[in-house]
Symmetry: C2
Subunit: 235 residues, 2 copies
């Protein structure tokens, strides 16, 4: 069974959180728009009963599911990336939703006025929002991730239980993105959050993840992506 992932070509974006889960599990999947172009997504959303508001979305037989966190909630059990316990599955989902909130805030740093305008048309606003993000918002999120790692009753190797889940892959990707966008900020911050830094490195060393990161399927970060590096916003 080949999963069909639909996401914008040319960027990692939110699709990357789904790709990492599929790659870690060694699942067969097709990154459809990369082969057929972005327009192929409209041919799906134009006709199904469950059209996604935006990419990414996943097609798996009769199921067409959108929203990154919902896709991962659906894939988790199929890919062996969650434990059996419904309570822990819900907790992993809750962590994923909080990662998604942080991704949105990291994006809005360079687009505080609106996604339809260029960064160049909202630079003063972005400078103000970046300061808020660096000083106030990002530390709140990092504190929380470090705290929940500390409180995992099974130890602080992974976020939940004693095995890797999709939330660990997503936290890795969040740290990757933030480190690209805010290298100076993150170099300082990660010293204060050793458990997060170690989890990031542990994920990067997983054989399937390492193979993926070295492949040409892993696109380089760039200035059209969610995480963007503007030196003036990093401090």
């Amino acid at each position: 069974m080949t999963y069909q992932l639909y996401y914008w070509t040319g960027i990692q974006g939110r699709g990357e959180f789904v790709r990492l889960a599929l790659e870690e599990a060694g699942a067969a999947y097709e990154d459809v728009a990369r082969r057929k172009g972005d327009r192929v997504m409209e041919t799906v959303t134009g006709k199904v009963d469950t059209p996604s508001f935006a990419p990414p979305f996943l097609k798996d037989g009769d199921v067409v599911v959108g929203q990154t966190s919902a896709i991962l909630f659906y894939l988790g059990p199929k890919l062996g990336l969650v434990p059996r316990s419904p309570r822990l599955r819900l907790w992993i989902h809750q962590i994923q939703l909080t990662i998604a909130d942080c991704v949105t805030e990291a994006h809005d740093v360079h687009h505080p006025v609106g996604v339809d305008l260029y960064y160049e048309d909202q630079k003063p606003e972005a400078a103000r929002r970046a300061e808020q993000f660096r000083i106030s918002r990002l530390p709140l999120f990092l504190d929380w991730f470090e705290t929940i790692l500390s409180r995992n009753p099974a130890g602080d190797t992974w976020l939940v239980g004693r095995k890797l889940s999709y939330a660990d892959l997503s936290l890795f990707q969040l740290i990757e993105g933030l480190s690209y966008a805010f290298p100076r900020l993150m170099e300082r911050q990660l010293l204060a959050y050793p458990k997060i830094a170690e989890l990031h490195d542990r994920v990067a060393e997983r054989p399937n993840i390492r193979r993926y990161l070295e492949s040409d399927r892993r696109l380089a970060p760039n200035k059209w992506d969610i995480f963007r590096h503007y030196s003036e916003l990093d401090e």
Copy 2:
């Protein structure tokens, strides 16, 4: 079994999406902070293994779950607010996540620079963001809600299947909030989206919802809430 809901006192906020589900189902619940004060929330998040990043969160025996959409996903089957089909439960969750995205964008209209600053300290930025929201973002969301209502194979009475789900309650609340914040904009917009407008009215007429809206448990909208009315942002 009494559910314990934890959310900031004094506003509807994101807690309201959970309250509407509990009220529609006639479930026994306690709005804990309203009785004990906001500080009570720290005593829970300070010690549990699954602390929520932010309110709302729900305590149900051993389960402590945060993130509005995850709370509703958990409550849906218990409150009889979702159908049996796992595929439709996932779809309802996906709709809820998209409503949550729209709520965040509606909030960020008056706080484009950051949630830690007063509106008065970001008025020019808010004016620009409001224009983007009115012209571009809100119509995209409304188009999508109208489309999925049209495509429901069971008819356009409810968003999914032939019975009310928690997503219908949440769409009602979104329209309530937007209509308070942007009365001029929404009066025009709802003429163009009759299915959404009818769904909103249909929810308001549910006996348990009507009783709730008339009770003192339903707080009035105000300028500390997610949806805020600033006349200069409405057009």
